[in-house]
Amino acid sequence: MHELSVAEAILDRAREAADDYGASGVEALTVELGTATHVNPDQLRFCIETVAETRDLADAAVSIETVEPEAACDCGWEGEPPSFDGTAGAVPSARCPECGSQTEFTRGKECRLASIEVPDEAAGTAPET
């Protein structure tokens, strides 16, 4: 389970971004998580929320967007990699369906902080409804 260290890094990054922005807090954050990683989305959300409690980011709403893999091969093939047969769940194969060589994932290996939402302090009163 390495979601904890990933969660800590995500929150470090969110805090840094909020600071750059001169914002006091983070109201929401979105993480893009590739499915060709071993980071489990539910565990990651749990870890982010838990760590956030200890970091005055407790109010941040966490959303995790999964990113389906894409791969490219030297032979020119590009696309959604096929799944292995016989594995639990869909595990993308890094083998080219055209020529059989090893491909490179161009998407699906990421775990990135995609966006944060911060309180609208600089703009004055935030509208409430």
Partner: protein, 267 residues
């Protein structure tokens, strides 16, 4: 250098903001959408991608250990009880007297493996990872600071016994050797395809008891060939020192050629 998109409402007139409020546009005021890597092909170096940051760190470590100090670095990973420690001991026994070797051992707790290595007269750094299930480049960097890198010829890194997490955390070694054993079942490759893809060589250990535990080594080989077509597979019985020569020869070859380039890395 900042990569954030600028605040889309920052310089807009008040009326626009009021309209936004009326039509219910963002109640939560400001949204930062961080920029993607431009081509999507090289997202490493993307400060917002924490896994890419670890990969970047691994590359820096590789640069320092392998290129600046000329140390040949090999990582061993695989489940607890699969025989990583025994296998590395067999390799240590093969080392010429003049070769200076450092071993880094990652363990969730304790230093049993570290003491085993110390008895071979090599420099050993034990990393007790505690809550972590894998070594990351930062932990490895701290560990090798215990060595005088300039005087080392070879570095063996034994990762924490775990078949999942290390796949996301390369350590910058020239070869990642995945050690599985027949006792884990002959479906072990299918259960962990991404880890096989992330490695350079596979060792199937404890082949002597394959029949007894009902594991078909040929099936394991076929699965490896499907997951990672170019990956060499070594069958060993590390305890009895059988099959280890072929692995040692492979490592010697990687060392001579500098890197293992038999297949592309996805990190």
């Amino acid at each position: 250098m900042t990569r954030y998109l600028s605040h889309r409402r920052q310089h807009r007139p008040l009326i626009d903001r009021l309209l936004d409020a009326l039509v219910g546009d963002p109640l939560v005021a400001r949204t930062h959408r961080f920029g993607h890597g431009d081509d999507g092909h090289d997202t490493d170096g993307d400060a917002d991608d924490v896994l890419a940051q670890f990969r970047e760190q691994a590359r820096d470590l590789h640069e320092r250990v392998v290129h600046d100090h000329g140390v040949f670095a090999v990582e061993f990973l695989g489940a607890t009880g699969g025989g990583k420690t025994t296998l590395v001991e067999r390799l240590l026994e093969r080392a010429p007297d003049e070769e200076r070797i450092g071993v880094v051992v990652g363990d969730v707790a304790g230093d049993d493996d570290a003491s085993r290595f110390r008895s071979h007269g090599v420099a050993v750094a034990n990393v007790t990872t505690g809550k972590e299930c894998h070594l990351d480049p930062g932990l490895l960097e701290d560990a090798i600071d215990e060595f005088d890198l300039g005087s080392l010829d070879r570095l063996y890194v034994e990762n924490v016994g775990n078949m999942v997490c290390p796949a996301d955390f390369p350590l910058g070694a020239q070869a990642r050797v995945l050690v599985v054993s027949t006792t884990e079942g002959d479906d072990v490759v299918r259960k962990h395809p991404l880890l096989f893809e992330a490695c350079d060589a596979a060792v199937v250990n404890k082949v002597d008891i394959a029949d007894a535990v009902g594991a078909d080594v040929a099936t394991m080989r076929e699965d490896v060939a499907e997951v990672a077509p170019d990956m060499p597979v070594f069958e060993t019985n590390a305890r009895a020192d059988e099959g280890v020569d072929a692995l040692a020869d492979f490592l010697a070859e990687v060392r001579t050629s500098g890197h293992h380039h038999a297949h592309a890395h996805h990190d």
